[in-house]
């Protein structure tokens, strides 16, 4: 009679286990290493600009004076993009997940995903060559009728190449990201909760308010933050659409600049301290994106108890 000892082990299976766990560990470490490497590169390269005498920095007033207008410009463009894209994206996602007939829904979902496949330079070209021209009369109207608002202060740009146009182009670019993520989350709403709402006598919209949106809230926030990340970092479209300049409150005059476009437009001809300044600007963009993500996580975790994960 043979007995199998508890201490003997199937060599091959254990080896596979070890290789696999080693591979996943390596992949996890690689991510941290890359992130740390990029951060380290940015900091080291940025130090000369951060420590240089104010007069040597572009503009002659120091790094802070150089960076804050384009930080504000970046945020303005990103906020415009999100303000336009978020409601539309949530509406489209809800339509696809809960209202449209199944065949229309899959077609529409496919088209939305196609939007994400268009390269950003194409969006930029479309924005610069078509949208800016077409939208200029609307800016004239805004300047004439709502000019008392600082953001619509005239005279409007004749070319239409303004931060508002850039924001609109960005909103089209982030729309598919927010839409497809939200749609996935909406579809994951447990049938159980939808039926609970319907059985109480909820209409379809009330069911969505009661069961779908609260369930999807963390997912929507994540989707918007991913969209924001794209809007903050988008370079080509802004570089092509925006006729940049000094920071201005009016969204319909030419002016303003974003960090990413500033780097892209100036980097090829930069040298010495100018390179360092641009990299420092990149570091600032990195920090902003990081902060945005942390705030998003914090918002999500605040409601963990009610998330339904328990």
């Amino acid at each position: 009679m043979t007995t199998t000892s508890l201490t003997s082990s199937r060599g091959a299976g254990r080896a596979g286990d070890k290789v696999f766990s080693g591979a996943t560990l390596a992949a996890g470490c690689l991510i941290l290493a890359v992130l740390f490497g990029v951060a380290l590169f940015l900091v080291i390269q940025a130090i000369p600009a951060l420590t240089a005498p104010a007069a040597d920095i572009q503009g002659g007033k120091g790094f802070f004076a150089y960076i804050w207008p384009i930080v504000v410009g970046t945020l303005i463009a990103a906020v415009i993009a999100l303000v336009i894209a978020t409601p539309i994206a949530i509406g489209v996602a809800l339509f696809i997940s809960h209202y449209a007939p199944r065949r229309l829904a899959s077609g529409l979902g496919y088209v939305v995903d196609l939007l994400a496949a268009i390269p950003s330079v194409i969006y930029g070209a479309w924005g610069a060559a078509f949208l800016a021209k077409e939208i200029a009369p609307a800016y004239d109207w805004l300047a004439a009728n709502m000019g008392w608002l600082p953001i619509f202060h005239g005279p409007a740009s004749a070319t239409g190449k303004t931060i508002l146009t850039a924001g609109i182009v960005l909103s089209v670019m982030v729309l598919p990201i927010i839409t497809s993520l939200s749609r996935e989350i909406f579809l994951q709403t447990p049938k159980l909760h939808e039926e609970a709402a319907l059985a109480l006598g909820a209409t379809r919209w009330e069911m969505i308010k009661m069961a779908v949106l609260p369930f999807a809230r963390p997912g929507i926030i994540s989707a918007v933050m991913l969209g924001l990340g794209r809007a903050l970092g988008e370079t080509m479209a802004v570089a092509l659409v925006l006729s940049s300049g000094a920071l201005t409150a009016s969204l319909i005059q030419s002016g303003n600049q974003t960090i990413a476009a500033e780097i892209a437009l100036n980097f090829p001809e930069a040298s010495g301290l100018k390179v360092s300044t641009l990299i420092a600007a990149g570091l600032v963009l990195f920090v902003i994106t990081l902060a945005v993500n942390m705030v998003a996580r914090w918002i999500i975790s605040r409601h963990k108890e009610f998330s339904g994960a328990n």
């Binding site: 159980l192 059985a199 109480l200 209409t203 009661m210 009610f306």
Partner: protein, 259 residues
């Protein structure tokens, strides 16, 4: 505040598939009626047609009449939303809204009617409903905590509290205890006994002892084979169904010879 249900010649279809055939049944007000039968016999499907919840599934439709005190639920111009606010439902798995507190869960249905309700009235309704569901003493100190933190049995009673808060005429229960342990099951069964003083209760159950314990009348559904429609075989006093059924199939089922 309870109404009777009379079903006349009801057929239920999923697309072209006839799922339940020719059911006629009279459900008395203020009584507990149990539906028993083997899996797939259409008893849950039929239960859902009593408050039009089957319409949630694509392609589901019915022929025939369901009368709530004489008013046809499927009459022209009848809004399923109104039907469901009159005929509440409790599901197989407890489904309190995870994003809401216990208090908000109870008030969820009431808030739908856009009634302006003072905090005092709302508090009173929450207490009354939770007491009605035998849950008040267990949760009164944590009304603002999420409903998903309760045990399974407590969650199910919270769902019952949520259903009775809108003061329906009828409460439908689709295997309400099948996901619960025996102690919680007992609590829910006790509750069903109390509910029939005020409401018409219809319960689907796989558990024949449960049907025998809680119901006044029992309906036995059966299916001739896969792909065939489910049918109502026998409907009578619960004691008759279990002790002296008139149909052979019923006797075989309740005595455990099949199903």
């Amino acid at each position: 505040m309870s109404k009777r249900i009379d079903v006349k010649d009801l057929n239920v279809y999923y697309g072209n598939f006839l799922a339940v055939e020719d059911v006629s049944i009279n459900i008395e007000a203020k009584s507990v009626t149990a539906f028993i039968g083997p899996s797939g016999c259409g008893k849950s499907t039929f239960l859902r047609t009593l408050n039009r919840m089957h319409e949630v599934l694509p392609g589901a439709r019915v022929e025939g009449e369901v009368l709530l005190d004489g008013d046809n639920l499927y009459g022209p111009g009848v809004d399923p939303v109104t039907v469901r606010s009159q005929i509440g439902m409790v599901f197989q798995r407890p489904n309190p809204f995870p994003t809401m507190s216990i208090r908000d869960n109870v008030l969820a249905g009431v808030k739908l009617n856009n009634q302006k309700m003072s905090k005092g009235e709302a508090d009173a309704l929450v207490e009354r409903s939770l007491q009605g569901a035998n849950l008040w003493n267990e949760v009164k100190d944590r009304l603002e905590k999420p409903g998903s933190g309760l045990s399974g049995g407590q969650q199910q009673r919270l769902c019952i509290a949520r259903a009775i808060a809108v003061e329906p005429q009828v409460i439908l229960m689709d295997e309400p205890c099948s996901a619960l342990d025996p102690i919680s099951t007992l609590a829910v069964e006790d509750l069903i006994n109390e509910l029939k003083d005020q409401y018409t209760v219809v319960i689907v159950t796989h558990n024949m002892q449960q049907a025998a314990r809680v119901s006044d009348k029992t309906a036995f559904f059966n299916i001739a084979g896969t792909g065939k429609p489910g049918k109502l075989i026998e409907f009578a006093e619960t004691s008759t169904i279990f002790n002296n059924p008139s149909q052979k199939a019923t006797e075989d089922y309740v005595s455990g010879r099949f199903g």
